[in-house]
């Protein structure tokens, strides 16, 4: 057991880090192909060594810290962001029984970790002691918190259909039909709220270049910004992972065909996560950005009532027809 658990942890974290690095490359390539150009393709064949080159460059760069920044918090904030996005993967099931920690409150744990992520951002912005960083951090934090409310209500919707917060149970409850099919609007709202939660387009005004230069991590250089950046992408994969677990069946196959039993469950899970990440990138390439007050407005005035409005019929229908699990 003393060997198994660290091995399991490494077995999650190492592929995840690789995944994050290649997600950065994938984003550049996918956006490039949408925009009728090729992305990075010089470094390796098809640019596959680009993340390595980028990582090496960032490690070798000189770390600059503003003299008036609070030293300890300034250094620790990106570390906290990154660590939180890795820690949340403890409860995500990759296959039947293949989960690091089979918590009975798994869903609540995920939600708590994403709420703690706001801390990392506020601390990063505030400890930089710079007006732009502070403004960016506050905007970012306020937006994340607003959309977390609607995420919470959507999680409740899924919870009602399953009856347990355990993510493995949620995935197994989708054996017959994925929740994304009867609850498709819920999936759409959840995806959009995840976009806003991770400060991705079209809700990326806190990090927009034209208005607010890179937002809360404007004062960071080299590893600090690299860690914030990686944390954002790891969060992106985490949200894709939770989208799959909650609404696309996690590791269950599409249809109960024997051929899909040959593909291991973790591969099926990964394919679905990749599809959601692709959707993230696609949305970024396609849409303009919301202005900040419009994104807050849509979070509070549109998504919150809508998600509340989804809880009511789902629970009503479940109680009426006694479909409660």
């Amino acid at each position: 057991m003393y060997i198994a658990v660290p091995a399991e942890i490494l077995g999650i974290i190492l592929p995840l880090l690789l995944g994050v690095a290649f997600l950065v490359l994938a984003e550049r390539k996918v956006m490039a192909f949408v925009q009728r150009r090729k992305g990075p393709d010089v470094v390796g064949s098809f640019g596959l060594l680009q993340p390595l080159a980028d990582g090496l460059k960032l490690i070798l760069k000189e770390p600059i810290s503003p003299s008036s920044a609070n030293f300890f918090l300034f250094r620790m904030a990106p570390v906290a962001t990154f660590m939180l996005s890795l820690v949340a993967w403890a409860v995500v099931p990759f296959d039947y029984g293949m989960v690091l920690s089979d918590l009975n409150i798994g869903l609540l744990y995920l939600f708590a970790i994403s709420s703690l992520g706001v801390y990392g951002i506020i601390i990063a912005g505030w400890s930089s002691n710079s007006k732009y960083a502070f403004l960016g951090a506050l905007r970012s934090a306020a937006q994340m918190v607003s959309y977390e409310v609607s995420i919470g209500l959507i999680l409740i919707t899924v919870l009602i259909c399953v009856g347990s917060c355990n993510l493995s149970e949620i995935v197994m409850a989708q054996k017959q039909i994925w929740f994304g099919i009867p609850l498709f609007p819920v999936l759409v709202m959840f995806f959009i709220s995840c976009l806003a939660e991770t400060n991705r387009a079209p809700f990326d005004l806190p990090e927009a270049e034209a208005e607010l230069v890179a937002g809360y991590n404007v004062e960071y250089s080299s590893m600090g910004s690299a860690l914030s950046f990686l944390g954002e992408y790891a969060n992106m994969i985490l949200m894709s992972g939770s989208c799959t677990s909650l609404s696309s069946g996690g590791w269950s196959p599409i249809l109960d065909l024997p051929i899909s039993k040959k593909i291991p469950g973790s591969i099926r899970f990964s394919i679905k996560v990749i599809l959601f990440s692709f959707l993230y990138i696609w949305v970024r390439a396609a849409f303009p950005r919301y202005r900040y007050d419009q994104s807050m407005g849509s979070g509070r005035k549109v998504f919150l009532p809508l998600s509340l409005a989804r809880v009511v019929p789902v629970s009503g229908v479940s109680v009426t027809f006694q479909w409660l699990p």
Binding site: Q35, P202, A285, P288, R289, R291, Y292
Partner: protein
């Protein structure tokens, strides 16, 4: 090329010189190519400021094709000194009209693609509708021109109001907005691109064969092969390129409908070969004055995009 056209028209007006019909058609078609090129740059970089990065790159691909046409005729992509007093510098190469025609046939669908990304998009509309509104009276007071003036509904297009060259033959529709906000201006630019495509399609069909420069050898130098054969041609080549030509005395203000607005040249001549005064009225300097009044009651994020919708080039503002 619109700016070259303005200056050349000013000189021609002072000289009272007649531009041959073929040159006029060539000028019009290249002006409209410039208009499409400018609008596709302006509206899509504006889109990039708003956050949509994709239409910009698609439009740049289209601009590449148009800049290739620029390059084929006078040899330079951007600052082609092609439109000169008296006509144009060189005739169109073989095959150019066919290439322009085939390019315009697919261009309308490219405009459709870019429009699909933006025009009906609710995020786009939310960012653009009722932002940067200008009333017709304000637009006239501030001296706006071009798309900024047609946004609030003032139907003033120099090509219609004071036609020059053969614009009255091609009869485009002039799109005019109603509310004067950014969304209207964006839609007007897109529609103007389509109208330009219409003009470009008509021009090679209506273009006669003939001279491309005015017959006055004191004004327009002869071709190089002629210059090498005849003494008079050599002198006629030497004189304009060294001393220039003299322009009679009074002054003129000539304005053309440049894509960004009304580009005017006020030329004062004292009879010699150098202008006494040449004042260039750039549309951007008038538009940039209105930035303060247009951005009142809006957020800072809108200021960036209002600058984009005014289609300002800092060079013409700084003068």
């Amino acid at each position: 090329m619109a700016q070259e056209h303005a200056h050349s028209s000013a000189v021609e007006r002072l000289l009272n010189c007649e531009v041959p019909l073929r040159a006029q058609y060539i000028r019009v078609s290249f002006r409209e190519i410039t208009r499409i090129s400018n609008h596709s740059l302006a509206s899509t970089t504006h889109a990039m400021d708003v956050g949509a990065s994709t239409p910009s790159l698609w439009a740049f691909e289209e601009r590449e094709k148009l800049l290739e046409f620029h390059e084929r005729v006078p040899g330079a992509r951007m600052h082609a000194s092609f439109i000169r007093p008296g006509g144009v510098a060189q005739d169109l190469p073989l095959g150019l009209c066919r290439d322009i025609d085939s390019s315009t046939q697919q261009f309308a669908s490219r405009i459709d693609e870019s429009e699909e990304m933006s025009t009906g998009n609710r995020i786009w509309k939310q960012r653009l509708v009722d932002i940067g509104t200008v009333t017709a009276q304000q637009a006239k007071d501030w001296g706006f021109s071009g798309v900024m003036l047609r946004g609030p509904g003032v139907c003033w297009d120099s090509r219609r109001a004071a036609p020059y060259d053969v614009h009255d033959q091609s009869d485009p529709d002039v799109p005019v907005g109603t509310r004067g906000d950014r969304y209207d201006r964006y839609c007007i630019r897109i529609e103007e691109m389509r109208q330009s495509v219409r003009i470009i399609v008509q021009c090679p069909n209506q273009m006669p064969s003939g001279m491309i420069k005015a017959d006055d050898r004191k004004l327009c130098p002869p071709s190089r092969c002629r210059m090498k054969l005849s003494m008079e041609s050599l002198i006629h080549h030497f004189e304009p390129y060294t001393e220039g030509f003299s322009v009679p005395a009074p002054s003129t203000y000539t304005a053309v409908e440049a894509p960004k607005g009304e580009f005017g040249v006020f030329l004062v001549s004292n009879g010699s070969n150098r202008p006494y005064r040449r004042k260039i009225r750039a549309p951007g300097s008038a538009h940039s004055q209105g930035l303060d009044s247009m951005s009142k009651h809006h957020m800072p994020a809108d200021v960036v995009t209002i600058i984009g919708t005014q289609d300002i080039v800092s060079g013409e503002v700084d003068r």
